[in-house]
């Protein structure tokens, strides 16, 4: 019945477990899977262990779970299962190993910690059953050894947590690999653990007691070294302190070393620890020391413990409370005995290093007894003390509790040894002694220390390699491939030498492989871009490597491609690259000048200093120094050539690529070119070409301008490029270049250069034929121009553009122009006059330089001056200054009336009238221009103030003396007036006629004007009648020309002329009738049509004349 119920219960459990596992495997919640699995573990590990085998595989399935927690559970399950039955490990070893190398750090750590129990339990089991092991079990054991070595090497890990676990694991290893003594204080749970003394035989197939102990000591030493390393983290240090205390309590053979280590920790606190971290470390140490004090072990170490506690800041009271008084008295005796035995046993165990250390400490203790030595030491070190006490020191300093005591001197000696370097004792000892003896100065001392340290590290490394056969054995004999077995690595104190590693590699690998490796490495470095950016230091190194890599064939293109993949972000890399190349050139030049210097010194028999010879490459022994230097010089020259070509190539390729880009808005080209150290000829040409680009010329030219301003060293070359553009026939490019030039011209440093250039070009114009320089400068221009041997308009213009732009800014330049003008050929003069308008207008008539020119113009430049005056007055009233200048000119130097024309409106009425006869003699077109100016026709001048009004002008024309000007010219002139009907209106003409009639004698052309006026304005006829009647009163018949006109006029106004005719004396009337018989007929008709009364008023004589047909 009972058996039945058991069976039932097992079946129930089976069912329950199956159900839980099923649920777990289909659940997608980590927590559900975890809970179920834990439940299963409860059931099959603790409750019904006999069921374990049934479900092992199912549970192990979960080690493939993606959840770290579930994997961790599997580890703990394995641990628990092995605890329950050690042999389980033989079934699970592969699973366990897999988990131990899981990618999840937390799973790894869990496995490391599980390994503590698994390893010691398995070790114990294997030791007991070593004679009965089958092959599979042996293999498992080897695998475990492999895993053990792997974990033990993890003090080197980058992960703090992993190192903590490793420290904890080392504790259990050291405990297993050392002897349990009767004094050992073993915690309850560890009572059953394995220790070396459980080995019955000294040596078996699998175990060697001494080797095991040796390995334990090795691990202990590694742990100590790690604990004392200066880069240890606070968590690791605290863990180490705990672990060391555990070891000390359970293995009294180590207690001395542990206490010494504690003391060393306190005297050499890792500098990386913060204040509160240090506090925590001390707390933990105090706790551990207290726990040692509470045990019976403290008996032998009262003085060490006291000094440690006092270093930790305990008050004497506290120390007395922790260390019972009776023990401390009693201890001294035991101490002496034990120290002796300790020393004896230790001597065997300690390696040579430790012995030496002891020796050194002893010798130091001896020397520190001497007051003189101590005084010397204090004095020597005084020089190294900072002026102010550091905060850290003042916070941490505690007065030495027992100054001058044997313990204190000893601990001081120990500190000195630690400080100087622990390993090379022989030479250090020597060194220490010399320090005491000869007051070594600080520098030498440091240097020596450094060398000693290097030496000692080497020794230490080789020793470690040679020493531990057991590791080698296990690593050779273990079959597992997945595990790294490099236990030989010691945790600290090793120097890494690249050559040691790479030499071997290089010998083994052929060139293509090497190239491949280079490529891959290079690619990786290229790809690190974003990751590295956060780390400034790494960033610098990366750039350096990339830039230097371009010296390998093909890598420069690769780097260029890389930069242009994302040029905005990576352009600085290109810049660094370029600068690197540039620096190489500079270095070469520096070397060259050093060499030249030396050569000079040699030639003159001067001494050459040692440091100067540093750069010299030896060529052989048989040659003289001079030859060596010359060969070096040749070499340097070649180098310079090479590097310059390299620089040029790099620069051009980058600039070209930048220019090729479609998107230019970011101005990268401009930014880059303004930052490069130096522009080569090719780069200048490239820039020149860029400036001609029809789309980008604006950007590029402003870049050029920026370069001119900022790059003083290459200013002239750059400026010449810009200047060349100012003579192009391409208007857009030229105008842009000119505008930039004008801007630059405002700056003093550029003005002279620009002016000189412009003036030189201008001067070409004084030559009869275009010079070859002109053509060379214009290589961008058409072939047509190149072929021309005489001046053509384009060429002439090309010499003028810039100069004419400059004139309005610097008026003085106008003189240069006038000089060239005089000497130039007719075609050039024509072009100059044509192009003069814009600059002259810009200068304006207030320009003193212009006025001066007008006043003192050189011979043969009349046309130029005339043109200038014309341009000045074309659209504005001439200024008084100008008028005076011209007036003087006219009066004194140049009686050419043409000069007056532009300033006519500025002259007085009298002057105008005086000049009129001369003026109207000029060609018709000029006269018309003169009248236009005087009458304000076709001018844009807003307020036209003419010295003469239209009436006055016409009157003046009539008054011109025929001696000065023939009548025909005057008639022409008056005709021009009549043509301007808008000005010479009916009213104006009326007024003219009235004024003229007052003049005596009547102007010859008077009647002509009357007739003209009548023709234009027939309505004037009544007015004309009155005028004519007045003429009769003036005895008009006495001036024959006018009388002729009078008669003509009478004919013209026929119906009305009877009034005039009837007023004539019969003699004159008769004359009229003789000239114009039609008038007689007309008058006859009229007389017959009037009333007799009216007729009666006509004199009979007249009537007769009329009647007498």
């Amino acid at each position: 019945m009972e058996i039945g119920s058991d069976k039932n219960q097992i079946e129930d459990t089976l069912e329950k477990v199956a159900e839980l596992l099923n649920e777990a495997s289909i659940s997608n919640k980590d927590s559900v899977r975890l809970t179920n699995l834990k439940h299963v573990q409860e059931l099959i590990v603790y409750k019904n262990p006999e069921l374990l085998d049934n479900f092992l595989d199912e549970i192990l399935q979960f080690q493939l779970d993606k959840s770290g927690e579930v994997k961790k559970f599997v580890v703990s399950f394995i641990e628990e299962a092995c605890k329950k039955d050690t042999e389980t490990i033989f079934k699970l070893i592969d699973n366990f190993r897999y988990l131990l190398f899981d990618e999840n750090v937390n799973v790894q750590k869990r496995a490391y910690l599980a390994m503590i129990n698994i390893f010691k339990n398995t070790l114990k089991w294997v030791v007991r059953n070593q004679n009965k092991l089958n092959d599979e079990q042996k293999q498992t054991w080897y695998t475990l050894l492999d895993l053990k070595n792997h974990i033990a090497s993890q003090l080197d890990s980058d992960n703090d947590g992993i190192r903590t676990c490793c420290i904890k694991f080392l504790e259990s290893l050291i405990l297993c690999m050392s002897e349990r003594l009767k004094e050992s204080i073993i915690p309850h749970v560890n009572k059953g653990d394995f220790s070396v003394d459980q080995l019955d035989q000294v040596e078996t197939d699998l175990f060697n007691r001494d080797e095991l102990k040796e390995e334990g000591r090795y691990h202990f030493k590694t742990l100590l070294e790690y604990t004392l390393s200066s880069h240890i983290s606070s968590v690791n240090l605290i863990s180490s302190i705990c672990v060391l205390s555990n070891i000390a309590k359970q293995r009294p053979e180590f207690i001395q070393t542990v206490l010494e280590t504690y003391s060393k920790i306190l005297s050499n606190i890792p500098p990386t620890l913060g204040k509160s971290q240090l506090n925590a470390v001390k707390k933990q140490m105090k706790l551990q020391i207290q726990s040692i004090c509470k045990s019976s072990l403290c008996v032998g170490f009262v003085s060490e413990l006291t000094s440690l506690l006092s270093d930790l800041g305990c008050s004497p009271n506290e120390i007395n409370r922790l260390i019972p008084k009776n023990i401390s008295i009693e201890s001294n005796k035991r101490r002496l005995n034990q120290a002796q035995t300790n020393l004896d046993s230790k001597k065997v165990k300690l390696n040579q290093d430790q012995k030496n250390q002891e020796k050194l400490i002893d010798s130091l203790v001896e020397r520190l007894q001497s007051k003189e030595n101590v005084t010397d030491l204090v004095l020597v070190s005084m020089t190294n003390l900072p002026d102010k006490m550091s905060l850290k020191f003042s916070q941490e300093y505690k007065a030495i509790s027992n100054p001058g005591s044997v313990q204190q001197i000893r601990s001081l000696a120990q500190m000195l040894v630690t400080y100087i370097g622990e390993n090379n004792f022989e030479s250090t000892s020597q060194n220490i002694l010399t320090v005491d003896d000869d007051d070594l100065d600080e520098e030498e001392d440091d240097d020596l220390k450094f060398k000693l340290k290097l030496k000692s590290e080497k020794i230490d490394y080789s020793e470690t390699v040679g020493k531990h056969p057991i590791h080698r054995q296990s690593s050779v004999s273990t079959p597992s491939k997945t595990l790294p077995t490099n236990l030989n690595k010691s945790a600290s104190n090793k120097t890494f030498k690249l050559n040691d590693v790479t030499n071997n590699i290089i010998n083994k690998i052929d060139q293509t492989q090497l190239q491949d490796l280079y490529n891959k490495a290079h690619n990786r470095i290229l790809e690190t871009d974003e990751n590295v950016n956060r780390n400034k230091h790494a960033c610098i190194i990366r750039k350096k490597v990339l830039v230097e890599s371009t010296t390998l064939p093909g890598y420069d293109q690769k780097l260029t491609n890389y930069v242009f993949e994302d040029v905005k972000k990576r352009i600085d890399l290109a810049l660094i690259w370029l600068y690197n190349n540039y620096l190489k050139i500079k270095q070469c030049y520096h070397k060259k000048s050093t060499l030249e210097n030396m050569k000079y010194k040699l030639e003159n028999g001067l001494n050459i200093k040692e440091e100067e010879q540093m750069d010299i490459v030896e060529v052989g022994h048989e040659v003289t120094k001079m030859e060596v230097i010359e060969q070096n010089e040749q070499y340097i020259l070649n180098q310079i050539e090479f590097y310059e070509a390299e620089y040029d190539r790099t620069l051009i390729s980058i600039l070209d690529s930048l220019q090729q880009r479609k998107e230019q808005k970011d101005l990268l080209f401009s930014k880059f070119i303004t930052q490069v150290p130096y522009l080569t000829d090719n780069a200048l040409n490239l820039l020149k070409n860029c400036c001609q680009d029809s789309e980008k010329f604006l950007f590029n030219m402003s870049t050029l301008s920026e370069l001119i301003v900022t790059r003083s060293k290459q200013r002239n070359e750059l400026l010449q490029i810009l200047l060349q553009f100012t003579s192009l026939s391409n208007q857009v490019l030229r105008e842009n270049a000119c505008t930039i030039c004008l801007n630059l011209y405002e700056r003093k440093q550029f003005a002279q250069i620009i002016e000189d250039y412009a003036f030189n070009r201008l001067k070409y114009l004084s030559l009869p034929n275009p010079p070859s320089e002109l053509i060379n400068d214009l290589t961008e221009e058409t072939q047509e121009m190149l072929d021309a041997s005489t001046w053509n308009e384009d060429m002439i213009k090309s010499c003028l553009y810039l100069y004419l732009e400059l004139i309005p800014v610097n008026h003085k330049l106008i003189n240069g122009l006038s000089e060239v003008y005089i000497e130039s050929v007719a075609e050039i003069k024509r072009v100059i006059l044509k192009m003069l308008e814009t600059p002259i207008k810009k200068m304006g008539m207030d320009s003193q330089e212009l006025l001066k020119l007008i006043q003192d113009f050189p011979r043969n430049s009349e046309t130029l001056v005339l043109r200038i005056i014309h341009i000045l007055t074309e659209k504005s009233q001439p200024s008084i200054d100008l008028v005076n200048k011209v007036r003087n000119l006219y009066a004194t130097k140049l009686p050419d009336v043409r000069f007056l024309i532009p300033i006519l409106t500025g002259l007085t009425k009298a002057e105008v009238i005086a000049a009129l006869p001369q003026l109207i003699k000029l060609s018709n077109a000029v006269v018309k221009e003169v009248f236009n100016r005087l009458l304000g026709i076709n001018t844009n001048i807003p307020v036209h103030k003419s010295p003469v009004n239209p009436t006055e002008l016409l009157v003046a024309l009539h008054q011109i003396d025929q001696a000065n000007c023939d009548l025909k010219t005057v008639i022409n002139a008056t005709s021009l007036c009549f043509a301007e009907k808008q000005i010479y209106t009916q009213e104006v003409l009326t007024s003219v006629m009235q004024q003229l009639i007052e003049i005596t004698p009547i102007p010859t052309l008077y009647m002509r004007t009357v007739i003209q006026s009548l023709t234009i304005y027939p309505k004037l006829s009544n007015f004309v009648v009155i005028m004519m009647q007045r003429l009769i009163g003036k005895q008009i018949w006495k001036s024959p020309k006018v009388w002729e006109g009078f008669i003509k006029c009478c004919q013209r106004i026929k119906p009305l002329s009877h009034q005039i005719l009837l007023k004539l004396q019969p003699a004159q009337l008769k004359e009229v009738f003789q000239v114009a018989p039609d008038l007689k007929e007309h008058l006859n008709k009229y007389v017959h049509s009037i009333t007799p009364l009216e007729r009666a008023q006509i004199t009979t004589e007249t009537m007769e004349l009329i009647e007498n047909l």
């Binding site: 770290g68 927690e69 968590v235 707390k283 706790l287």
Partner: protein, 201 residues
């Protein structure tokens, strides 16, 4: 497998907070951690639970086995006005809604990832207790101390300081590896010294 599609859940860290009497500072923190959904237990390290009494020299002392409920009723009976006025009743009332009675750290054998303490003395006591325990699991536990003054206001501030730190630790990718840096940064941020040690179960 069916569950392979969902993202892995973050395993909550097991937090504990320890003060002297498991009344004010630890319970305030317990309360906030609870509300924010972190895994939390609270403890005291004192021999007894001490609460302010009518004067400084006359504290109310209870055994750790006394329930909050009992304390509440007891104090209400003694001087309801006084204990209402100084906030003690309100505090105990809150505590009894969280858990039945105070717990003593030294008597608990649960395992944690992080133990917060609120006073250096308590930090020492916790370390000492952990040191004296039988160690079987070899699992590490971080002990972190930030001083918090024992009054209502500071307890609330302290609770938030601890919560913020807990959140950073919880959200770190590899807590063991990053804790050092997190604590150093946080120390300079809150301008209070942070003690940090490690022990093994």
């Amino acid at each position: 497998m069916a569950y392979s599609e969902s993202p892995p859940e973050i395993q909550p860290l097991r937090f504990a907070v320890v003060c002297s009497s498991n009344q004010n500072r630890s319970m305030e923190t317990h309360n906030i951690f609870n509300k924010k959904g972190l895994s939390i237990r609270s403890f005291g390290t004192g021999k007894e639970v001490k609460l302010p009494g009518p004067s400084i020299t006359q504290p109310n002392v209870y055994d750790f086995n006394t329930t909050y409920d009992f304390m509440y009723k007891d104090l209400s009976n003694r001087d309801k006005q006084l204990y209402t006025q100084n906030g003690i009743l309100h505090m105990i009332d809150r505590n009894r809604r969280i858990k039945p009675k105070p717990e003593r750290f030294q008597e608990n054998r649960e395992h944690f990832d992080i133990i917060f303490t609120v006073e250096e003395r308590i930090f020492d006591q916790v370390l000492e207790d952990l040191e004296n325990r039988e160690k079987e699991l070899n699992q590490p536990v971080h002990i972190i101390n930030i001083d918090v003054t024992d009054n209502h206001e500071d307890a609330t501030i302290g609770a938030f300081i601890l919560y913020e730190l807990a959140l950073m630790l919880q959200n770190s990718e590899d807590m063991d590896n990053e804790i050092d840096e997190i604590l150093q940064d946080y120390e300079s941020k809150i301008k209070r010294p942070i003690l940090h040690s490690i022990a093994f179960y």
